[in-house]
Symmetry: C2
Subunit: 234 residues, 2 copies
């Protein structure tokens, strides 16, 4: 990848995609951010993404996929009837947080937007910790998504590439890299429950806490205490 | 593919995907149809798809991607500022009808819906006549879309496959096969202009007329006469 590419970053407002944006800016690329509203209960993350785009002064678009999200029911992230599980991010119980084909959908839309808006590349913030539970975060997925995007745009001046620079990184490495780049971690949102504060006990909160600890980076997150029994429908 | 699969057919309301639905029903599969509203000027095709689903008595869902379509601007199919070109379907001028990454987006959403609703397979009605202009209709695209879908759903009970049984067929062959299956061609919609009648002069109308002629099947379509100079913004 040449320095100075125009890259559309899929930004969830979370720690990984925010660190990715800073990482790519540091490499000299021009960025745009795109976020997706698929009816996730933690859509507070969309406000986080908007604030981060504002902080680094780059364009940000939110794509409305709420009607699509409704058809992908059954996930704890979108279905009020399914509780967000407590536990470690890599526990099998976290499978209830899978939104089927979510990353392929977001990537496909982002590739279309990139092609229509003159970007050469779409970047995803997936990382090694995602692999255990989410098949659409694994290296094989990223490789095929890249090949599909290039093929679907092969007649255009700039066929679109899909990259995931952190796909083999641990979250600890991402936190360490982010800290060295001055990522405003306190502005990022991870918690699947989407309450007023990070709950501290869902899979992604536990993974977040652990990453700061392992990286020996101070964790600026204000965690609340939410018992899992009260989490349903939040 | 085993007989008796549950297949989600991406149905545009056009001739190809309608014939595909009949073809798959004839093979003993159970079908559902899904259509996409991406703000196409010929969204009259969505009503055609609904009528066809009703005719064969299978479930039909229309997915709202209007906000996505707005971000894929610049195509004659979605942008009122870009005129629908007259000419042959395979002319280079037809490139103005490309909606970037459209089939990848529709396929990705359909794969998610298939996974959430217990289907094993997503079927696309692309055919050989599409290859010249639309890269996301070519065999390489279908092959990669299939591999991506299987990979993104590989941990589920039934990883989703993507098939395109007509991908190497000509439209003449599709019309001939459809006629043998009793496809109600008069209910299908092709015209990109989306007026009250098929215009008869845009690329897809010309391709449609030609296919009936070559297949020696009576064409039930009532074509109107719309001069290309008056087509802008229709």
């Amino acid at each position: 990848m040449e320095s100075g590419d125009d890259i559309l970053v899929i930004a969830s407002g979370g720690l990984d995609s925010t660190a990715l944006a800073y990482h790519l800016l540091d490499q000299g690329h021009r960025l745009r951010l795109v976020s997706f509203d698929y009816g996730q209960r933690h859509r507070v993350e969309l406000r986080a993404a908007a604030r981060i785009a504002d902080e680094i002064n780059i364009p940000h678009e939110v794509v409305d996929l709420v009607s699509v999200g409704r058809l992908l029911s059954g996930s704890a992230l979108t279905d009020p009837e399914v509780a967000v599980p407590d536990g470690h991010y890599t526990d099998l119980s976290m499978r209830s947080t899978i939104v089927p084909n979510r990353n392929a959908i977001m990537t496909a839309v982002a590739v279309g937007i990139a092609s229509a808006s003159g970007c050469e590349c779409v970047a995803l913030g997936v990382h090694a910790g995602d692999h255990a539970i989410y098949p659409d975060c694994r290296p094989a997925f990223v490789d095929l998504a890249d090949r599909l995007a290039r093929t679907a745009t092969e007649d255009t001046e700039s066929p679109i590439r899909v990259i995931a620079p952190f796909v083999t990184w641990t979250k600890r490495q991402i936190v360490a890299r982010g800290a060295s780049l001055g990522v405003p971690f306190a502005m990022t949102w991870s918690c699947y429950r989407g309450g007023e504060r990070h709950c501290g006990s869902c899979g992604t909160c536990i993974e977040r806490r652990e990453a700061f600890e392992l990286a020996s980076v101070p964790d600026p997150t204000a965690y609340g205490a939410i018992a899992s029994s009260t989490s349903k429908g939040r």
